[in-house]
Amino acid sequence: MLDLNEDQIDLLKEIFNVGMGKTLKVLAELAGKEHEVIFSLPKLEVIRLADLIKRVGGDDNNVSIIQQSYNGVINGKALMLYPDKSSLELANLIMGTSLPIDEISKLENDALAEIGNMLINASLSSFANFVDKEIKTDLPKVKAGAPEVIFPKEIINDQIIYLDATFTISNKELVGHLALLIDDDCYEQFLKVIDEYNAQFEI
């Protein structure tokens, strides 16, 4: 059972904040100088993966995900979840195209996969840098459809660290959800490195 106190949550929000900042710098560069990417303050919760899928998936529960396994100081899986119908216009903007909406569905998937990949790696790198350890990531896998098809049964009820990764470029909003699954046998190590980081600033 992953139970985080206020100091641990505060540090994790800051870690994700740095990862998100690096990602948004790249997105802003892709979108062009005239666009500033606006992101809301990170909201971080520990919830079950199944509950996040319900929030993201809407009526049919269908979602698109980018999934990357990671290992190092802690092991687990990082997921970026998008509602099945995300912002096509935003994908257009980021990919620098001006295709009609009905022609960019494939492009949208590529763009969302790229954004997910960037955000996952930036967030995990930020975590590794903060705690001065190493984390390696596997290649991303992109999946879409019903939860029972895309998620292994054994993880659906697992707890996740969830971050709302919604941002806006030129009034176009992209709703994304970052989920960090940590292997059960790494919880203790995870909490230990976070607490060690926080403890060094106690006066």
Binding site: D7, K13, N17, G21, K33, H35, E36, F39
Partner: protein, 118 residues
């Protein structure tokens, strides 16, 4: 007594900043606030000599830039900086327009030392 102002909505960062500043300047006071609004309301009550400010950009309510616009004149030239993970050029440009510095998060002792000891 000389003092540094730190405004950040993260308690972790406020503790970290205080730790760094006390390490660099043991005799300085550090005044920390969790939002621009609170800092603005309290700054007039600070009797210390304010010699620097480190201000987060993304916070609930006013942004760090909006706060800096209102308080930059209370500090010596070149002693106010935005400290943010939002490292887009557009945000850095806003700080530059205001004539203040920009420090990228994550914050380190070296970055704070380089800024405050200039």
């Amino acid at each position: 007594m000389k003092a540094i102002l730190c405004v950040d909505d993260s308690r972790t960062i406020r503790k970290q900043m205080t730790f760094f500043i006390k390490k660099l300047f043991p005799d300085y006071n550090v005044h920390t606030f969790e939002s621009g609004e609170v800092a603005l309301a309290e700054i007039e009550n600070i009797s210390d000599e304010l010699v620097g400010a480190l201000i987060d950009y993304n916070m609930e309510g006013m942004t760090g830039i909006e706060l800096a616009e209102q308080i930059v004149d209370k500090f010596p030239a070149g002693t106010v900086s935005i400290v943010s993970a939002n490292i887009q050029d557009a945000v850095k440009a806003k700080a530059a327009e205001l004539g203040i510095s920009f420090i990228e998060k994550p914050c380190t002792l070296e970055k704070i030392e380089k800024f405050l000891k200039v």
